[in-house]
Symmetry: C2
Subunit: 308 residues, 2 copies
Amino acid sequence: MNLPMVVPDPTLPSRVLVYEVGPRDGLQNEQTVLPVEVKAELVTRLVAAGLKIVEVTSFVHPRWVPQLADAEALLARVDHRGATPMPVLVPNERGLDRALAEGVRHIAIFGSATETFARRNLNRSLEEQFSMFEPTVARARAEGMDVRAYVSMCFGDPWEGRVPVDQVVDVGRRLLELGTYQLSLGDTTGVGTPGHVTALLDAFNAAGVADDRLAMHFHDTYGQALTNTYAALRHGVTTFDASAGGLGGCPYAESATGNLATEDLVWMLDGLGIETGIDLASLVETSRWLAGHLGRPSPSRVVNARPQ
Amino acid sequence: MNLPMVVPDPTLPSRVLVYEVGPRDGLQNEQTVLPVEVKAELVTRLVAAGLKIVEVTSFVHPRWVPQLADAEALLARVDHRGATPMPVLVPNERGLDRALAEGVRHIAIFGSATETFARRNLNRSLEEQFSMFEPTVARARAEGMDVRAYVSMCFGDPWEGRVPVDQVVDVGRRLLELGTYQLSLGDTTGVGTPGHVTALLDAFNAAGVADDRLAMHFHDTYGQALTNTYAALRHGVTTFDASAGGLGGCPYAESATGNLATEDLVWMLDGLGIETGIDLASLVETSRWLAGHLGRPSPSRVVNARPQ
Protein backbone atom coordinates (compact mmCIF):
# COMPACT_ATOMS: atom_id res chain seq x y z
CA MET A 1 0.00 0.00 0.00
CA ASN A 2 0.87 3.67 -0.31
CA LEU A 3 2.37 5.26 2.82
CA PRO A 4 2.32 8.92 3.89
CA MET A 5 5.27 11.19 3.17
CA VAL A 6 6.80 12.65 6.31
CA VAL A 7 6.78 16.44 6.69
CA PRO A 8 7.21 17.12 10.41
CA ASP A 9 5.77 20.10 12.27
CA PRO A 10 8.27 20.93 15.04
CA THR A 11 5.58 22.77 17.02
CA LEU A 12 3.69 19.52 17.67
CA PRO A 13 4.38 16.75 20.20
CA SER A 14 6.93 14.18 18.99
CA ARG A 15 5.01 11.16 20.25
CA VAL A 16 1.33 10.21 20.60
CA LEU A 17 -0.38 7.32 22.37
CA VAL A 18 -3.14 5.84 20.24
CA TYR A 19 -5.66 4.24 22.59
CA GLU A 20 -7.33 1.50 20.54
CA VAL A 21 -11.03 1.07 21.35
CA GLY A 22 -12.12 -1.10 18.40
CA PRO A 23 -12.59 -4.43 20.18
CA ARG A 24 -14.78 -2.77 22.83
CA ASP A 25 -16.37 0.46 21.61
CA GLY A 26 -16.26 -0.74 18.02
CA LEU A 27 -17.60 -4.27 18.30
CA GLN A 28 -20.31 -3.40 20.84
CA ASN A 29 -21.98 -1.47 18.03
CA GLU A 30 -21.73 -4.01 15.25
CA GLN A 31 -24.77 -5.98 14.18
CA THR A 32 -22.60 -9.01 13.61
CA VAL A 33 -21.48 -10.78 16.77
CA LEU A 34 -18.02 -12.17 16.13
CA PRO A 35 -16.89 -15.55 17.50
CA VAL A 36 -14.58 -15.18 20.48
CA GLU A 37 -11.70 -16.71 18.49
CA VAL A 38 -11.97 -13.91 15.90
CA LYS A 39 -12.02 -11.28 18.65
CA ALA A 40 -8.94 -12.80 20.24
CA GLU A 41 -7.17 -12.83 16.89
CA LEU A 42 -8.15 -9.17 16.38
CA VAL A 43 -6.61 -8.18 19.72
CA THR A 44 -3.45 -10.18 19.03
CA ARG A 45 -3.12 -8.65 15.55
CA LEU A 46 -3.60 -5.11 16.91
CA VAL A 47 -0.82 -5.64 19.42
CA ALA A 48 1.39 -7.11 16.70
CA ALA A 49 0.67 -4.02 14.55
CA GLY A 50 2.16 -1.92 17.34
CA LEU A 51 -0.83 -0.61 19.28
CA LYS A 52 0.42 0.22 22.77
CA ILE A 53 -2.92 -0.09 24.58
CA VAL A 54 -6.04 -1.97 23.47
CA GLU A 55 -9.37 -1.83 25.30
CA VAL A 56 -10.57 -5.37 24.79
CA THR A 57 -14.06 -5.82 26.20
CA SER A 58 -16.68 -4.72 28.71
CA PHE A 59 -18.22 -6.08 31.88
CA VAL A 60 -21.48 -4.28 31.20
CA HIS A 61 -24.35 -6.75 31.67
CA PRO A 62 -24.87 -8.87 28.51
CA ARG A 63 -28.49 -7.74 28.44
CA TRP A 64 -27.28 -4.28 27.40
CA VAL A 65 -24.30 -5.27 25.27
CA PRO A 66 -24.85 -8.81 23.98
CA GLN A 67 -21.98 -8.35 21.51
CA LEU A 68 -19.51 -8.49 24.42
CA ALA A 69 -21.19 -11.23 26.47
CA ASP A 70 -18.06 -13.36 26.06
CA ALA A 71 -15.77 -11.06 28.07
CA GLU A 72 -14.30 -13.78 30.30
CA ALA A 73 -13.80 -16.16 27.38
CA LEU A 74 -11.97 -13.46 25.46
CA LEU A 75 -9.75 -12.54 28.41
CA ALA A 76 -8.76 -16.19 28.69
CA ARG A 77 -7.51 -16.03 25.09
CA VAL A 78 -5.46 -12.80 25.16
CA ASP A 79 -2.36 -11.76 27.09
CA HIS A 80 -4.09 -9.14 29.23
CA ARG A 81 -1.49 -9.30 31.96
CA GLY A 82 1.39 -8.85 29.51
CA ALA A 83 3.36 -5.81 28.39
CA THR A 84 0.49 -4.19 26.46
CA PRO A 85 -2.24 -2.87 28.75
CA MET A 86 -5.69 -4.27 27.87
CA PRO A 87 -8.27 -2.28 29.79
CA VAL A 88 -11.81 -3.54 30.29
CA LEU A 89 -14.86 -1.32 30.71
CA VAL A 90 -16.39 -1.73 34.16
CA PRO A 91 -19.76 -0.08 34.79
CA ASN A 92 -20.11 -0.70 38.53
CA GLU A 93 -19.05 -2.89 41.44
CA ARG A 94 -20.52 -6.04 39.94
CA GLY A 95 -18.39 -5.42 36.86
CA LEU A 96 -15.39 -4.83 39.10
CA ASP A 97 -15.96 -8.21 40.78
CA ARG A 98 -15.77 -9.85 37.36
CA ALA A 99 -12.61 -7.89 36.51
CA LEU A 100 -10.96 -8.90 39.78
CA ALA A 101 -11.87 -12.54 39.23
CA GLU A 102 -10.02 -12.44 35.88
CA GLY A 103 -6.96 -10.63 37.22
CA VAL A 104 -7.62 -7.59 35.00
CA ARG A 105 -5.14 -4.78 35.71
CA HIS A 106 -6.61 -1.85 33.82
CA ILE A 107 -10.22 -0.73 33.82
CA ALA A 108 -12.30 2.15 32.52
CA ILE A 109 -15.50 3.66 33.86
CA PHE A 110 -18.05 5.43 31.67
CA GLY A 111 -19.47 8.71 32.98
CA SER A 112 -21.78 11.29 31.46
CA ALA A 113 -21.42 15.03 31.05
CA THR A 114 -25.19 15.49 30.80
CA GLU A 115 -28.20 14.82 32.99
CA THR A 116 -30.26 13.15 30.28
CA PHE A 117 -27.56 10.75 29.16
CA ALA A 118 -26.70 9.90 32.79
CA ARG A 119 -30.34 8.94 33.37
CA ARG A 120 -30.65 7.01 30.13
CA ASN A 121 -27.29 5.26 30.14
CA LEU A 122 -26.45 4.96 33.85
CA ASN A 123 -29.94 5.08 35.34
CA ARG A 124 -28.59 7.76 37.68
CA SER A 125 -28.74 11.53 37.86
CA LEU A 126 -25.70 13.55 36.81
CA GLU A 127 -24.92 13.98 40.52
CA GLU A 128 -25.61 10.36 41.53
CA GLN A 129 -23.05 8.98 39.07
CA PHE A 130 -20.21 10.09 41.34
CA SER A 131 -21.48 8.15 44.35
CA MET A 132 -22.05 5.17 42.06
CA PHE A 133 -18.47 5.28 40.74
CA GLU A 134 -16.80 6.12 44.06
CA PRO A 135 -16.67 2.61 45.61
CA THR A 136 -15.78 1.03 42.23
CA VAL A 137 -12.80 3.32 41.73
CA ALA A 138 -11.72 3.11 45.39
CA ARG A 139 -11.71 -0.69 45.42
CA ALA A 140 -10.01 -0.87 42.00
CA ARG A 141 -7.26 1.51 43.15
CA ALA A 142 -6.83 -0.44 46.38
CA GLU A 143 -6.30 -3.55 44.23
CA GLY A 144 -3.61 -1.72 42.25
CA MET A 145 -5.64 -1.21 39.10
CA ASP A 146 -5.34 1.80 36.77
CA VAL A 147 -8.71 3.46 36.22
CA ARG A 148 -9.55 5.60 33.23
CA ALA A 149 -12.76 7.66 33.07
CA TYR A 150 -14.72 8.19 29.89
CA VAL A 151 -16.87 11.30 29.82
CA SER A 152 -19.57 11.01 27.19
CA MET A 153 -21.55 13.83 25.53
CA CYS A 154 -18.83 16.45 26.05
CA PHE A 155 -19.88 18.58 23.07
CA GLY A 156 -23.49 18.01 22.13
CA ASP A 157 -26.26 15.85 23.54
CA PRO A 158 -29.17 14.61 21.39
CA TRP A 159 -31.69 15.67 24.04
CA GLU A 160 -30.03 18.74 25.60
CA GLY A 161 -28.22 20.24 22.59
CA ARG A 162 -25.03 22.11 23.28
CA VAL A 163 -23.27 21.03 26.47
CA PRO A 164 -21.71 23.90 28.47
CA VAL A 165 -17.92 23.49 28.77
CA ASP A 166 -18.02 24.35 32.50
CA GLN A 167 -20.40 21.45 33.08
CA VAL A 168 -18.00 19.07 31.31
CA VAL A 169 -15.06 20.40 33.31
CA ASP A 170 -16.97 19.97 36.57
CA VAL A 171 -17.89 16.36 35.77
CA GLY A 172 -14.35 15.63 34.60
CA ARG A 173 -12.67 17.09 37.68
CA ARG A 174 -14.89 15.09 39.99
CA LEU A 175 -14.13 11.87 38.09
CA LEU A 176 -10.39 12.61 38.38
CA GLU A 177 -10.78 13.32 42.11
CA LEU A 178 -12.20 9.82 42.58
CA GLY A 179 -8.76 8.51 41.64
CA THR A 180 -8.88 8.02 37.89
CA TYR A 181 -5.63 8.72 36.04
CA GLN A 182 -7.09 10.09 32.81
CA LEU A 183 -10.27 11.47 31.29
CA SER A 184 -11.33 10.45 27.80
CA LEU A 185 -13.48 13.33 26.58
CA GLY A 186 -16.02 11.92 24.17
CA ASP A 187 -17.80 13.70 21.35
CA THR A 188 -20.38 10.94 21.40
CA THR A 189 -22.60 12.43 18.71
CA GLY A 190 -19.74 13.73 16.56
CA VAL A 191 -21.05 17.29 16.38
CA GLY A 192 -17.99 19.16 17.70
CA THR A 193 -15.79 21.50 15.68
CA PRO A 194 -12.18 22.62 16.32
CA GLY A 195 -12.97 25.90 18.13
CA HIS A 196 -15.19 23.98 20.55
CA VAL A 197 -12.37 21.50 21.18
CA THR A 198 -9.95 24.31 21.96
CA ALA A 199 -12.45 26.06 24.23
CA LEU A 200 -13.09 22.86 26.18
CA LEU A 201 -9.36 22.18 26.63
CA ASP A 202 -8.74 25.79 27.67
CA ALA A 203 -11.49 25.45 30.28
CA PHE A 204 -9.93 22.26 31.68
CA ASN A 205 -6.52 23.94 31.86
CA ALA A 206 -8.03 26.97 33.63
CA ALA A 207 -9.52 24.58 36.19
CA GLY A 208 -6.10 23.06 36.85
CA VAL A 209 -6.42 19.96 34.64
CA ALA A 210 -3.46 19.83 32.24
CA ASP A 211 -3.59 18.27 28.77
CA ASP A 212 -1.51 15.30 29.96
CA ARG A 213 -4.49 14.11 32.04
CA LEU A 214 -6.77 14.27 29.00
CA ALA A 215 -7.48 12.01 26.06
CA MET A 216 -9.87 12.84 23.22
CA HIS A 217 -12.46 10.45 21.83
CA PHE A 218 -14.02 11.65 18.59
CA HIS A 219 -16.76 10.16 16.47
CA ASP A 220 -16.87 10.87 12.75
CA THR A 221 -20.64 11.35 12.40
CA TYR A 222 -20.21 14.75 10.73
CA GLY A 223 -16.73 14.16 9.30
CA GLN A 224 -15.01 16.25 11.99
CA ALA A 225 -13.14 13.57 13.98
CA LEU A 226 -9.65 13.89 12.52
CA THR A 227 -9.79 17.69 12.34
CA ASN A 228 -10.84 17.87 15.98
CA THR A 229 -8.01 15.48 16.83
CA TYR A 230 -5.56 17.77 15.05
CA ALA A 231 -6.91 20.78 16.98
CA ALA A 232 -6.43 18.91 20.28
CA LEU A 233 -2.96 17.77 19.24
CA ARG A 234 -2.03 21.38 18.53
CA HIS A 235 -3.35 22.26 21.97
CA GLY A 236 -1.07 19.69 23.62
CA VAL A 237 -3.14 16.52 24.04
CA THR A 238 -1.11 13.38 23.27
CA THR A 239 -3.58 10.51 23.82
CA PHE A 240 -6.26 9.83 21.21
CA ASP A 241 -8.89 7.12 21.11
CA ALA A 242 -9.49 5.47 17.77
CA SER A 243 -11.03 2.31 16.45
CA ALA A 244 -9.36 0.02 13.92
CA GLY A 245 -11.21 0.33 10.62
CA GLY A 246 -13.51 2.99 12.10
CA LEU A 247 -15.70 0.49 13.92
CA GLY A 248 -18.07 1.51 16.62
CA GLY A 249 -20.05 4.28 18.16
CA CYS A 250 -22.36 4.52 21.11
CA PRO A 251 -25.36 2.19 21.16
CA TYR A 252 -27.43 4.41 23.46
CA ALA A 253 -27.03 7.64 21.53
CA GLU A 254 -29.12 8.26 18.46
CA SER A 255 -27.10 9.07 15.37
CA ALA A 256 -23.72 8.12 16.80
CA THR A 257 -21.81 6.57 13.95
CA GLY A 258 -18.34 5.19 14.17
CA ASN A 259 -15.25 6.28 15.99
CA LEU A 260 -12.34 7.94 14.28
CA ALA A 261 -10.61 5.21 12.25
CA THR A 262 -7.20 4.34 13.69
CA GLU A 263 -5.75 4.12 10.17
CA ASP A 264 -6.83 7.65 9.21
CA LEU A 265 -5.34 8.96 12.47
CA VAL A 266 -2.08 7.09 11.96
CA TRP A 267 -1.83 8.37 8.38
CA MET A 268 -1.87 11.93 9.72
CA LEU A 269 0.50 11.22 12.61
CA ASP A 270 2.94 9.38 10.34
CA GLY A 271 2.80 12.28 7.88
CA LEU A 272 3.55 14.70 10.71
CA GLY A 273 6.52 12.57 11.79
CA ILE A 274 4.89 11.86 15.15
CA GLU A 275 5.90 8.54 16.67
CA THR A 276 3.19 6.01 17.55
CA GLY A 277 5.00 2.68 17.17
CA ILE A 278 2.21 1.51 14.84
CA ASP A 279 2.85 -0.23 11.53
CA LEU A 280 0.17 1.23 9.26
CA ALA A 281 0.32 -1.47 6.56
CA SER A 282 -0.14 -4.21 9.15
CA LEU A 283 -3.04 -2.33 10.74
CA VAL A 284 -4.76 -1.89 7.37
CA GLU A 285 -4.36 -5.59 6.67
CA THR A 286 -6.02 -6.35 10.01
CA SER A 287 -8.96 -4.08 9.29
CA ARG A 288 -9.45 -5.63 5.85
CA TRP A 289 -9.41 -9.07 7.42
CA LEU A 290 -11.93 -7.91 10.02
CA ALA A 291 -14.19 -6.34 7.39
CA GLY A 292 -14.39 -9.79 5.81
CA HIS A 293 -15.64 -11.25 9.10
CA LEU A 294 -18.16 -8.43 9.52
CA GLY A 295 -19.36 -8.72 5.94
CA ARG A 296 -19.19 -5.04 5.20
CA PRO A 297 -16.53 -2.54 4.08
CA SER A 298 -14.67 -0.44 6.61
CA PRO A 299 -15.64 3.23 6.88
CA SER A 300 -11.92 4.13 7.08
CA ARG A 301 -10.71 6.08 4.04
CA VAL A 302 -7.19 4.66 4.34
CA VAL A 303 -8.42 1.08 4.54
CA ASN A 304 -10.44 1.57 1.35
CA ALA A 305 -7.88 3.53 -0.68
CA ARG A 306 -6.68 1.60 -3.70
CA PRO A 307 -2.96 0.85 -3.73
CA GLN A 308 -0.94 3.24 -5.92
CA MET B 1 -31.46 18.08 10.33
CA ASN B 2 -29.02 18.72 13.16
CA LEU B 3 -26.91 21.87 12.78
CA PRO B 4 -23.49 22.64 14.25
CA MET B 5 -23.13 24.65 17.45
CA VAL B 6 -21.12 27.83 16.99
CA VAL B 7 -17.92 28.19 19.02
CA PRO B 8 -15.82 30.80 17.20
CA ASP B 9 -12.04 30.90 17.12
CA PRO B 10 -11.07 34.60 16.98
CA THR B 11 -7.63 33.74 15.55
CA LEU B 12 -9.20 32.48 12.30
CA PRO B 13 -10.50 34.43 9.29
CA SER B 14 -14.10 35.62 9.71
CA ARG B 15 -15.18 34.72 6.17
CA VAL B 16 -14.35 31.97 3.68
CA LEU B 17 -15.15 31.55 0.00
CA VAL B 18 -16.25 28.01 -0.78
CA TYR B 19 -15.46 27.35 -4.44
CA GLU B 20 -17.93 24.67 -5.53
CA VAL B 21 -16.46 22.18 -8.01
CA GLY B 22 -19.12 19.45 -7.88
CA PRO B 23 -20.78 20.02 -11.28
CA ARG B 24 -17.38 19.94 -13.02
CA ASP B 25 -14.74 18.07 -11.00
CA GLY B 26 -17.39 15.94 -9.34
CA LEU B 27 -19.56 14.90 -12.26
CA GLN B 28 -16.65 14.31 -14.64
CA ASN B 29 -15.73 11.35 -12.43
CA GLU B 30 -19.14 9.79 -12.02
CA GLN B 31 -20.01 6.62 -13.91
CA THR B 32 -23.55 7.88 -14.36
CA VAL B 33 -23.93 10.60 -16.96
CA LEU B 34 -26.69 12.90 -15.79
CA PRO B 35 -29.19 14.49 -18.22
CA VAL B 36 -28.43 18.14 -18.86
CA GLU B 37 -31.68 19.18 -17.15
CA VAL B 38 -30.55 17.53 -13.92
CA LYS B 39 -27.16 19.24 -14.14
CA ALA B 40 -28.85 22.60 -14.67
CA GLU B 41 -31.10 21.99 -11.68
CA LEU B 42 -28.03 21.06 -9.62
CA VAL B 43 -26.31 24.34 -10.48
CA THR B 44 -29.46 26.34 -9.78
CA ARG B 45 -29.97 24.58 -6.44
CA LEU B 46 -26.35 25.17 -5.42
CA VAL B 47 -26.69 28.87 -6.09
CA ALA B 48 -29.97 28.93 -4.19
CA ALA B 49 -28.23 27.21 -1.25
CA GLY B 50 -25.84 30.16 -1.12
CA LEU B 51 -22.73 28.99 -2.97
CA LYS B 52 -20.96 32.15 -4.17
CA ILE B 53 -19.07 30.55 -7.07
CA VAL B 54 -19.86 27.33 -8.93
CA GLU B 55 -17.61 25.77 -11.56
CA VAL B 56 -20.19 24.36 -13.91
CA THR B 57 -18.54 22.40 -16.70
CA SER B 58 -15.48 21.87 -18.89
CA PHE B 59 -14.50 22.49 -22.49
CA VAL B 60 -12.11 19.55 -22.47
CA HIS B 61 -12.73 17.43 -25.59
CA PRO B 62 -15.67 15.03 -25.03
CA ARG B 63 -13.39 12.14 -26.00
CA TRP B 64 -11.60 12.65 -22.67
CA VAL B 65 -14.52 13.69 -20.50
CA PRO B 66 -17.73 12.33 -22.04
CA GLN B 67 -19.63 13.14 -18.83
CA LEU B 68 -19.34 16.86 -19.67
CA ALA B 69 -19.94 16.65 -23.42
CA ASP B 70 -23.05 18.81 -23.00
CA ALA B 71 -21.18 21.94 -21.88
CA GLU B 72 -22.90 24.34 -24.29
CA ALA B 73 -26.34 22.88 -23.59
CA LEU B 74 -25.78 23.29 -19.85
CA LEU B 75 -24.55 26.87 -20.21
CA ALA B 76 -27.71 27.68 -22.14
CA ARG B 77 -29.74 26.53 -19.12
CA VAL B 78 -27.94 28.35 -16.28
CA ASP B 79 -27.42 32.02 -15.49
CA HIS B 80 -23.67 32.03 -16.08
CA ARG B 81 -23.54 35.76 -16.76
CA GLY B 82 -25.44 36.59 -13.57
CA ALA B 83 -24.32 37.62 -10.09
CA THR B 84 -22.80 34.24 -9.20
CA PRO B 85 -19.62 33.49 -11.15
CA MET B 86 -19.80 30.15 -12.99
CA PRO B 87 -16.32 29.33 -14.25
CA VAL B 88 -15.71 26.76 -16.96
CA LEU B 89 -12.56 24.67 -17.29
CA VAL B 90 -10.70 25.51 -20.49
CA PRO B 91 -7.78 23.28 -21.47
CA ASN B 92 -6.41 25.21 -24.43
CA GLU B 93 -7.24 27.73 -27.17
CA ARG B 94 -9.85 25.51 -28.78
CA GLY B 95 -11.61 25.38 -25.42
CA LEU B 96 -11.27 29.14 -25.13
CA ASP B 97 -12.96 29.57 -28.53
CA ARG B 98 -15.92 27.59 -27.21
CA ALA B 99 -15.99 29.68 -24.02
CA LEU B 100 -15.94 32.93 -26.00
CA ALA B 101 -18.74 31.69 -28.23
CA GLU B 102 -20.93 31.17 -25.14
CA GLY B 103 -20.06 34.49 -23.53
CA VAL B 104 -18.41 32.77 -20.56
CA ARG B 105 -16.81 35.29 -18.19
CA HIS B 106 -14.77 33.11 -15.86
CA ILE B 107 -12.47 30.27 -16.86
CA ALA B 108 -9.96 27.96 -15.23
CA ILE B 109 -6.88 26.26 -16.67
CA PHE B 110 -5.49 22.99 -15.35
CA GLY B 111 -1.70 22.78 -14.89
CA SER B 112 0.53 20.14 -13.39
CA ALA B 113 3.20 20.33 -10.71
CA THR B 114 4.92 17.19 -12.01
CA GLU B 115 6.56 16.08 -15.22
CA THR B 116 4.79 12.73 -15.42
CA PHE B 117 1.32 14.12 -14.89
CA ALA B 118 1.99 16.95 -17.36
CA ARG B 119 2.89 14.37 -19.99
CA ARG B 120 -0.03 12.07 -19.18
CA ASN B 121 -2.72 14.70 -18.71
CA LEU B 122 -1.57 17.59 -20.92
CA ASN B 123 0.58 15.69 -23.41
CA ARG B 124 3.26 18.30 -22.72
CA SER B 125 6.41 18.44 -20.62
CA LEU B 126 6.35 20.31 -17.32
CA GLU B 127 8.09 23.20 -19.13
CA GLU B 128 5.95 23.10 -22.28
CA GLN B 129 2.71 23.60 -20.33
CA PHE B 130 3.53 27.29 -19.84
CA SER B 131 3.87 28.00 -23.54
CA MET B 132 0.65 26.04 -24.11
CA PHE B 133 -1.28 28.10 -21.55
CA GLU B 134 0.29 31.46 -22.44
CA PRO B 135 -1.85 32.36 -25.50
CA THR B 136 -5.01 30.97 -23.84
CA VAL B 137 -4.58 33.14 -20.76
CA ALA B 138 -3.46 36.19 -22.75
CA ARG B 139 -6.50 36.06 -25.06
CA ALA B 140 -8.87 35.36 -22.16
CA ARG B 141 -7.52 38.34 -20.21
CA ALA B 142 -7.74 40.54 -23.29
CA GLU B 143 -11.42 39.54 -23.53
CA GLY B 144 -11.92 40.57 -19.89
CA MET B 145 -12.19 37.09 -18.45
CA ASP B 146 -10.99 36.04 -14.99
CA VAL B 147 -8.61 33.09 -15.20
CA ARG B 148 -7.95 30.71 -12.34
CA ALA B 149 -5.12 28.14 -12.48
CA TYR B 150 -5.40 24.69 -11.00
CA VAL B 151 -2.11 23.07 -10.06
CA SER B 152 -2.50 19.32 -9.76
CA MET B 153 -0.24 16.86 -7.89
CA CYS B 154 1.01 19.47 -5.40
CA PHE B 155 1.75 16.92 -2.65
CA GLY B 156 2.26 13.44 -4.05
CA ASP B 157 2.28 11.99 -7.54
CA PRO B 158 1.44 8.33 -8.23
CA TRP B 159 4.48 7.95 -10.47
CA GLU B 160 7.00 10.34 -8.89
CA GLY B 161 6.12 10.04 -5.20
CA ARG B 162 6.68 13.09 -3.04
CA VAL B 163 6.60 16.36 -4.97
CA PRO B 164 9.19 18.94 -3.81
CA VAL B 165 7.54 22.11 -2.51
CA ASP B 166 9.97 24.30 -4.47
CA GLN B 167 8.86 22.64 -7.69
CA VAL B 168 5.20 23.40 -6.87
CA VAL B 169 6.04 27.00 -6.01
CA ASP B 170 7.95 27.41 -9.27
CA VAL B 171 5.05 26.05 -11.36
CA GLY B 172 2.55 28.14 -9.39
CA ARG B 173 4.48 31.39 -9.76
CA ARG B 174 4.81 30.92 -13.49
CA LEU B 175 1.07 30.25 -13.84
CA LEU B 176 0.33 33.44 -11.86
CA GLU B 177 2.78 35.39 -14.04
CA LEU B 178 0.76 34.41 -17.11
CA GLY B 179 -2.06 36.55 -15.70
CA THR B 180 -4.13 34.15 -13.61
CA TYR B 181 -5.70 35.66 -10.49
CA GLN B 182 -5.53 32.61 -8.24
CA LEU B 183 -3.88 29.22 -7.86
CA SER B 184 -5.88 26.23 -6.70
CA LEU B 185 -3.31 23.91 -5.17
CA GLY B 186 -4.56 20.36 -5.60
CA ASP B 187 -3.74 17.34 -3.51
CA THR B 188 -4.92 15.19 -6.40
CA THR B 189 -4.10 11.86 -4.78
CA GLY B 190 -5.17 12.91 -1.27
CA VAL B 191 -1.89 11.89 0.39
CA GLY B 192 -1.01 15.21 2.07
CA THR B 193 -0.92 15.85 5.80
CA PRO B 194 -1.14 19.15 7.72
CA GLY B 195 2.61 19.73 8.17
CA HIS B 196 3.05 19.36 4.41
CA VAL B 197 0.27 21.89 3.80
CA THR B 198 1.92 24.40 6.10
CA ALA B 199 5.34 23.84 4.52
CA LEU B 200 3.94 24.38 1.03
CA LEU B 201 2.15 27.59 2.04
CA ASP B 202 5.26 28.88 3.82
CA ALA B 203 7.27 28.25 0.65
CA PHE B 204 4.77 30.18 -1.47
CA ASN B 205 4.85 33.09 0.99
CA ALA B 206 8.67 33.07 0.97
CA ALA B 207 8.53 33.33 -2.83
CA GLY B 208 6.28 36.38 -2.60
CA VAL B 209 2.92 34.68 -3.17
CA ALA B 210 0.56 35.58 -0.33
CA ASP B 211 -2.23 33.32 0.94
CA ASP B 212 -4.86 35.56 -0.67
CA ARG B 213 -3.68 34.39 -4.11
CA LEU B 214 -4.07 30.75 -3.08
CA ALA B 215 -6.96 28.33 -2.85
CA MET B 216 -6.67 24.75 -1.60
CA HIS B 217 -8.21 21.74 -3.33
CA PHE B 218 -8.13 18.60 -1.21
CA HIS B 219 -9.22 15.07 -1.98
CA ASP B 220 -10.33 12.77 0.81
CA THR B 221 -8.64 9.57 -0.41
CA TYR B 222 -6.88 9.05 2.93
CA GLY B 223 -9.36 10.95 5.10
CA GLN B 224 -7.13 14.02 5.40
CA ALA B 225 -9.06 16.60 3.35
CA LEU B 226 -10.84 18.52 6.11
CA THR B 227 -7.85 18.45 8.45
CA ASN B 228 -5.62 19.81 5.69
CA THR B 229 -8.23 22.48 5.02
CA TYR B 230 -8.19 23.47 8.68
CA ALA B 231 -4.38 23.67 8.62
CA ALA B 232 -4.53 25.96 5.56
CA LEU B 233 -7.27 28.06 7.15
CA ARG B 234 -5.09 28.54 10.22
CA HIS B 235 -2.29 29.59 7.88
CA GLY B 236 -4.46 32.28 6.32
CA VAL B 237 -5.99 30.76 3.18
CA THR B 238 -9.64 31.78 2.72
CA THR B 239 -10.70 30.01 -0.50
CA PHE B 240 -11.40 26.28 -0.45
CA ASP B 241 -12.57 24.01 -3.23
CA ALA B 242 -15.20 21.44 -2.31
CA SER B 243 -17.74 19.29 -4.06
CA ALA B 244 -21.37 19.00 -3.02
CA GLY B 245 -21.91 15.56 -1.53
CA GLY B 246 -18.22 14.72 -1.96
CA LEU B 247 -18.52 13.96 -5.67
CA GLY B 248 -15.58 13.73 -7.90
CA GLY B 249 -11.88 13.19 -8.19
CA CYS B 250 -9.42 13.15 -11.02
CA PRO B 251 -10.06 10.68 -13.83
CA TYR B 252 -6.44 10.50 -14.91
CA ALA B 253 -4.90 9.81 -11.51
CA GLU B 254 -5.02 6.32 -10.08
CA SER B 255 -6.56 6.13 -6.63
CA ALA B 256 -8.00 9.64 -6.63
CA THR B 257 -11.30 9.38 -4.79
CA GLY B 258 -13.65 12.21 -4.17
CA ASN B 259 -13.14 15.82 -3.31
CA LEU B 260 -13.73 17.18 0.14
CA ALA B 261 -17.51 17.22 0.62
CA THR B 262 -18.87 20.77 0.73
CA GLU B 263 -21.24 19.80 3.55
CA ASP B 264 -18.45 18.50 5.81
CA LEU B 265 -16.48 21.70 5.16
CA VAL B 266 -19.48 23.93 5.86
CA TRP B 267 -20.22 22.02 9.09
CA MET B 268 -16.74 22.94 10.33
CA LEU B 269 -16.90 26.54 9.12
CA ASP B 270 -20.36 27.05 10.62
CA GLY B 271 -19.12 25.57 13.90
CA LEU B 272 -16.18 27.98 13.87
CA GLY B 273 -18.54 30.89 13.24
CA ILE B 274 -16.93 31.60 9.86
CA GLU B 275 -19.26 33.17 7.35
CA THR B 276 -19.82 31.45 3.99
CA GLY B 277 -23.36 32.50 3.10
CA ILE B 278 -24.28 28.85 2.60
CA ASP B 279 -27.43 27.27 4.02
CA LEU B 280 -26.27 23.83 5.14
CA ALA B 281 -29.72 22.23 5.33
CA SER B 282 -30.54 23.29 1.80
CA LEU B 283 -27.18 22.02 0.54
CA VAL B 284 -27.70 18.63 2.21
CA GLU B 285 -31.13 18.39 0.63
CA THR B 286 -29.56 19.05 -2.77
CA SER B 287 -26.93 16.35 -2.30
CA ARG B 288 -29.56 13.83 -1.20
CA TRP B 289 -31.60 14.66 -4.27
CA LEU B 290 -28.49 14.26 -6.45
CA ALA B 291 -27.56 10.94 -4.81
CA GLY B 292 -30.95 9.69 -5.96
CA HIS B 293 -30.12 10.62 -9.56
CA LEU B 294 -26.68 8.98 -9.31
CA GLY B 295 -28.10 5.86 -7.71
CA ARG B 296 -25.56 5.69 -4.91
CA PRO B 297 -25.13 7.24 -1.45
CA SER B 298 -23.03 10.35 -0.98
CA PRO B 299 -19.60 9.90 0.61
CA SER B 300 -20.25 13.02 2.72
CA ARG B 301 -20.55 12.23 6.44
CA VAL B 302 -22.93 15.16 7.01
CA VAL B 303 -25.22 14.14 4.15
CA ASN B 304 -25.50 10.64 5.60
CA ALA B 305 -25.89 11.53 9.28
CA ARG B 306 -29.28 10.57 10.64
CA PRO B 307 -31.32 13.48 11.95
CA GLN B 308 -31.18 13.86 15.74
